[in-house]
Amino acid sequence: MKKLISIFSGIPLHLVIITIALIWILPSVGLLITSFRSSADVATSGWWTVLQHPFNFTCYTLENYREVIIRIGIGKAFWNTLLITIPATIIPILIASFAAYAFAWMDFPGRRLLFVILVGLLVVPLQMTMIPILRVFNKLGLAGTFPGIWFAHTGYGLPLIIYLLYNFISGLPSELFDSCSIDGATPFQIFKKLVIPLSLPALASVTIFQFLWVWNDLLVALVYLGGTPDVAPLTVRISALVGSYGQDWELLTAAAFVSMILPLSLFLGLQRYFVKGILAGSVKG
């Protein structure tokens, strides 16, 4: 009887949650369906009309995707985004993991001051740095190049990544480090054999943060790369599409989903690390 009561008492709450979830997901579903509809159908009827006969596949077309990927150049932009995001994720993670370990477990002059400066950098608005850095990039010939934007994302991402990794790495038991050093391990050996394996959850979560941040970035790419098709990432190309194809909703939605597919898969596949990452920062901070 008690079990029945507990089941039934949970039903209203579950109904509310499911309703909110459906309302939340509805616009995305609408965009997804629109991306598979022809321009004629989009112009004449709403996406919800498809729900009357959802399994009538003649209503759907892949032409929008073909159009955006091949003819409009979203496919090229996708590869540009990968070329920007992957190094701009790997480089700061690599540097930050070394830095976080040094801050957490190595004693050197100025350690505290450097760490305070690092944390202070977190409050500097990104926009304030753009003009001075762009001037420097222009002098060095880095403006409009992939290395330039890798440096930019590395610089912008390092303070937070170091801070999050420092919080995690400094929480590792000190006896583990003492045990390694008494066995004769050098700091690099300790880093490689102990810190990295034990920090995998934190590394996975900061990798997701950094990947998503760079993938979805528009401003930094626009400023340091520019909008030329040979280097422009997805965000820049899609924002340009709004101008030239502003009325072609089926193309815009298709382009949007092309840009979403990879980060969405990454998030769904690694979401437990994402949650752990949020907690790691908040608890240790």
Partner: protein, 363 residues
């Protein structure tokens, strides 16, 4: 005679500066012989762990020197010292198996894989972990984890093995069985060891010699028997086991190492390790609870009043009031003795060989 293997010479460690100075270890001198197990025993904050960490190299002394086999290692980094440590929290690598944990040090040294395998398997058998090589630490009991930690230290063949309260995370029963195993292993391997604990029973069971520490200073060094029967001061007497203290005065020396004292207007002959006492010198007469016998009140005997009794099956504990002092008396096998009631007056006899005197100090 075994030579001095580990020597601590005038070792001092000071933390902080200015007004926030803390002297954690104060002029410690200790000589440990080869193959000996010496325990540093004392209350929390007495400096025993700091001393151990200085031997390991995790702290460098503020002043003083450390020698192992006549070679000074005071400022040598831990990785280059011939020491290993068993930690209180085991310090096992959670991402490695038992085998990998134990073999870790040998891999750092880049020993041949065949050697590593042979040595690791030998040590695994020695500590009784056969069949558990492929388990991860999370799937081991506390006692098994402790043995992995010990194996990881022993496999490096250190000259000095350091143990920092290795049993404090185990339950009471497991602690008793594991400490006997540690002692047997240490004796079998013949490794010089320095053990830190705040548990008196552990120290008395395991050690060849015990070093009692308090507020950074060594109070006394001796075998468990010497420490218990002949403590040098109030702190040691009170810290080890239970103790009764009665104020008195020295009447005079009867012979070398034998002195007559006056306590509560009664004269007692006491054997002492100290060469001489001054006549009239104030002292404490130390009597352990198990060294006191109670009888029906007799004339001319030291008497007291029973205030409380606690029956513990194999023992009876009495609290006896003697003038302004209180004595704790422990009678074993109480069924064989008369039971006295609260309020009853009793005669108190001290077993002569168990009496000891220590210098008087204001408490």
């Amino acid at each position: 005679m075994k030579e001095d293997y580990l020597v601590l010479e005038n070792l001092t460690k000071v933390f902080g500066s200015g007004k926030n100075t803390v002297t954690a270890v104060d002029n410690v001198n200790l000589r440990v012989r080869k193959g000996e197990l010496v325990t540093l025993l004392g209350p929390s904050g007495c400096g025993k762990t700091t001393t151990l960490r200085m031997i390991a190299g995790f702290e460098f002394p503020t002043s003083g020197k450390i020698f192992i086999e006549d070679k000074e290692i005071s400022t040598v980094p831990p990785s280059q010292r011939p020491t290993t440590m068993v930690f209180q929290n085991y310090a096992l690598f959670p991402h490695m198996t038992v085998f990998e944990n134990i073999a870790y040090g040998l891999r750092i040294r880049r020993e041949a894989e065949k050697n590593i395998r042979e040595k690791t398997e030998k040590i695994i058998n020695l500590v009784g972990l056969k069949g558990l090589s492929e388990r991860s630490p999370a799937h081991l009991s506390g006692g098994q984890q402790q043995r992995v930690s010990l194996a990881r230290s022993l496999i490096m063949e250190p000259k000095v093995l350091l143990l920092d309260e290795p049993l404090s995370n185990l339950d009471a029963k497991l602690r008793v069985s594991t400490r006997l195993e540690i002692r047997k292993l240490q004796q079998r391997v013949g490794i010089t060891s320095v053990y830190v604990t705040h548990d008196q029973e552990e120290a008395m069971t395991l050690s060849d010699r015990v070093v009692i520490m308090n507020t950074g200073k060594i109070q006394q060094i001796g075998t468990p028997q010497e420490i218990y029967a002949h403590p040098v001061n109030y702190f040691v007497a009170d810290f080890i086991g239970k103790a009764n203290f009665l104020e008195g005065r020295v009447v005079g020396m009867i012979s070398k190492n034998k002195v007559e004292v006056d306590v509560k207007n009664k004269k007692y002959e006491v054997f002492t390790l100290k060469d001489s006492f001054s006549e009239g010198e104030k002292i404490f007469l130390l009597i352990r609870p198990e060294s006191i016998e109670l009888e029906n009140k007799k004339p001319n005997a030291l008497t007291g009043i029973v205030r409380q009794l606690i029956y513990l099956g194999s023992r009876m504990i009495y609290e006896i009031e003697v003038d302004k002092d209180h004595l704790t008396v422990e009678i074993t096998n109480p069924q064989e003795h008369k039971t006295f009631s609260p309020g009853e007056e009793v005669s108190i006899n001290f077993k002569k060989k168990s009496l000891h005197i220590i210098p008087y100090e204001e408490i």
